[in-house]
């Protein structure tokens, strides 16, 4: 099996590509989380203007295909390196989705608890910090894990702007060997599957850890 030998000899390259993919993933998730949380808080607690701006931004980011946003950011008239461009573009996309995860979680917190905090004399920022965010985190981990695995797969899009990640590794091997295309993609598929499983099981465990009675629990 010639292709096995090639894949094995390319393992160091795949390791590098995987590392790059994980860096892109971490970067875009952080961009998406910060911006997504800001959008969610603005949509719920902001005044009319802030609410409007946040909703409009979210709708735009939601509606633009990731590929379009990738090229758009990459070809902006200032010098962005490829990886940073991918992180920003995919992160912007993710923020729209993450904002709705957080928004849903926040809205499912019983409003009476927020009123109780208010009646105790707590300021709005403190209510958000001590009551809303801690409950939101617990309620978001499940859907957020979904977003995580979807974004892990979407890091493969970064190859279109020349980021040397897993897909780029695969393209390279396909280009210099012949007739092994399916085998290479099968290998790449297994690689993504493994990464997704490791990642999601980490978040399941985190959810388990942060669980307290009264919050919904994943069954098994």
């Amino acid at each position: 099996m010639e292709i096995l030998r090639i894949l094995i000899s390319e393992l160091p390259q795949f390791a590098k590509g995987t590392l790059v993919a994980l860096e892109v993933l971490a970067g875009l998730l952080i961009v998406g989380l910060v911006l997504g949380l800001a959008i969610a808080l603005a949509e719920i607690f902001g005044n009319t203007l802030i609410k409007f701006l946040a909703t409009t931004l979210r709708k735009f980011l939601w509606a633009i295909p990731q590929l379009v946003l990738l090229f758009l950011v990459f070809y902006l008239p200032f010098d962005l390196n490829r990886m940073l461009a991918a992180i920003i573009a995919l992160g912007l996309c993710s923020s729209a989705f993450q904002s709705q995860i957080f928004r849903g979680a926040i809205l499912s917190i019983q409003s009476g608890q927020l009123e109780a905090a208010k009646a105790m004399g707590l300021s709005k920022p403190k209510i958000i910090f001590y009551i809303v965010i801690p409950q939101m985190i617990r309620l978001s981990i499940g859907p957020w894990t979904n977003e995580f695995s979807s974004e892990l797969k979407d890091t493969s899009l970064a190859y279109v702007v020349g980021v040397v990640e897993i897909m780029r590794n695969a393209k390279y091997i396909i280009a210099y060997t012949y007739g092994n295309t399916a085998a290479v993609y099968l290998f790449v598929g297994i690689l993504y599957f493994t990464l997704t499983r490791i990642g999601t099981s980490f978040f399941y465990r985190l959810e388990e850890r942060l669980w307290v009675p009264g919050f919904e629990k994943r069954s098994g």
Binding site: K118, M120, L122, Y130
Partner: protein, 246 residues
């Protein structure tokens, strides 16, 4: 006894609906005031106006002589001085019982963790729940949750506590355990305003009763006198429902 709260000509409208029309009353330190009346009479709104959960439209609320119904007042510091107990408890579900009661001293009063824990433990003990200190709200019965929410209000060391139908979500047995905590507080000299349908409590524990109907105080006075000889026809009618039930 000194006057702790004086309410003068308080009004509140929701759109065109006048929920409170010119409400005035006084409360002395250590007194328990029961506010009774049928549903929709404005009694819960009155309570929510006092700490500006629903800001009143006009009138004065004098807390220890200082009008707090002005825009200049720091409403958060006033709220911290007026405990509020809700009908449906509203405990913080992500915090355990100790953390719930520590929350006020720690996050509102800015005390140290150690001080907050001491205060919280004492208040939890006071409502007879010290064995549940590590439980979460979802693991407690409604009556237990309400006792903890009373402890949470007490932990702020408020000047008075406002109870908004604290037993309306509870069955008779659980109502009993909450009322006995409230009775003990009243006997210890806690100042409280209690919006309630528990006529037994109003009659035997309260120092003073206000009967409110359609946003107006129809009658106020000593409970034993009011329950025995209501002066107004509306009060008599309202109270007769309860007499019949007993």
């Amino acid at each position: 006894m000194s006057t702790i709260l004086e309410v003068k000509h308080l009004t509140k409208k929701f759109d065109d609906n006048e929920v409170l029309k010119d409400v005035s009353f006084e409360l002395k330190k250590g007194e328990t005031l029961a506010v009774i009346g049928s549903s929709g009479s404005g009694k819960s709104t009155l309570l929510r106006c006092l700490n500006h959960l629903s800001p009143p439209d006009s009138g004065q609320i004098l807390l220890e002589g200082v009008n707090i119904n002005t825009p200049e007042i720091d409403i958060n510091s006033i709220r911290a001085d007026m405990g509020f107990v809700f009908q449906d408890f509203n405990l913080f579900t992500h915090l355990n019982i100790l953390e719930n009661v520590m929350f006020g001293p720690l996050r509102v009063r800015g005390l140290s963790k150690k001080q907050a824990r001491q205060i919280a433990a004492a208040e939890i003990k006071r409502v007879g729940m010290i064995d549940k200190i590590d439980s979460y709200p979802a693991q407690l019965s409604g009556g237990q949750q309400q006792r903890i929410s009373i402890a949470r209000a007490l932990a702020l060391k408020p000047k008075l506590i406002l109870f908004d139908e604290p037993t309306s979500a509870l069955d008779p047995e659980l109502t009993g355990e909450v009322l006995s905590v409230m009775t003990a507080l009243a006997n210890e000299g806690m100042t409280a305003i209690v919006v309630t349908h528990e006529m037994g409590f109003a009659r035997s524990v309260a120092d003073k009763v206000i009967f409110i109907d359609q946003g107006l105080i129809v009658e106020q006075g000593e409970p034993k006198i009011m329950f025995a000889t209501p002066r107004h026809e509306r009060t008599r009618l309202f109270l007769s429902n309860f007499v019949r039930l007993e």
